[in-house]
């Protein structure tokens, strides 16, 4: 149960409290939803760029913004995933 992670020192504890969860499924659910958000950000960016370059639809600043959001989403996801992984390893190392 993730609740026990609340007592860990920052920042791992802070990241862990953001997980809405019940059981080990909490980890994979949170990661899963994060992955799909990153994917949808990438798709939006690609669609916006295609629309502008082929049909001339849309504003350039919106295309640039979508591209940056996709890139930031990916970076944020990577950092959060790393935190998850190290939190998981920390738990595994705990003497039970």
């Amino acid at each position: 149960m993730i609740v026990s992670l609340n007592s860990l020192p920052n920042p791992i504890g802070a990241v862990a409290t953001a997980i809405p969860s019940s059981g080990a499924g909490g980890f994979s659910e949170a990661l899963g939803s994060a992955i799909s958000q990153v994917e949808s950000a990438q798709n939006s960016a690609k669609a916006a760029a295609t629309a502008l370059l082929t049909g001339g639809q849309g504003d350039i600043h919106n295309v640039a913004l979508a591209a940056q959001k996709a890139s930031l989403s990916l970076e944020l996801f990577q950092q959060v995933r790393n935190k998850f992984v190290s939190a998981y390893q920390e738990i595994m190392r705990m003497p039970m």
Binding site: P11, A34, Q37, A41, D59, H61, N62, L65, Q68, K69, L72, S73, E75, L76, F77, Q79, V80, N82, K83
Partner: protein, 108 residues
């Protein structure tokens, strides 16, 4: 953790400035077209979905029906470009802040 709200305000402001620049270009191109009336987009009207360029109020009409004032259009051209530069810079700053926040999280 979606970044959907990032750049929402500034992004739509940039869209408004883009629409306005297009209308100003139309006004300048038609400065000598008989019967042409100066068009403009206003920020309140931009908040709605459909943006219709409306006739700009308070301009005097000449004999050929044209009311384009080159002084007004030239002034708006410069003003609009400057506002766009400022808003785009602010947006860049926002994105940079988010990026450094993410990177700082990596080290701690």
């Amino acid at each position: 953790m979606s970044l959907d709200r990032v750049g929402l305000e500034l992004g739509s402001y940039l869209s408004f400035l883009t629409r306005r620049q297009e209308v100003i270009a139309s006004n300048i191109a038609n400065a000598d077209t008989p019967g042409y009336k100066t068009l403009d987009v206003s920020l309140p009207s931009f908040r709605q979905a459909l943006v219709q360029a409306e006739e700009a109020p308070g301009l005097t009409t000449r004999n050929d029906g044209n009311n384009v004032s080159m002084d007004r259009e030239a002034r708006l051209l410069t003003e609009n470009t400057m506002k766009f530069t400022l808003a785009a810079q602010m947006l860049r700053g926002q994105l940079k802040d988010i990026r450094s926040a993410i990177e700082e999280g990596r080290s701690s």
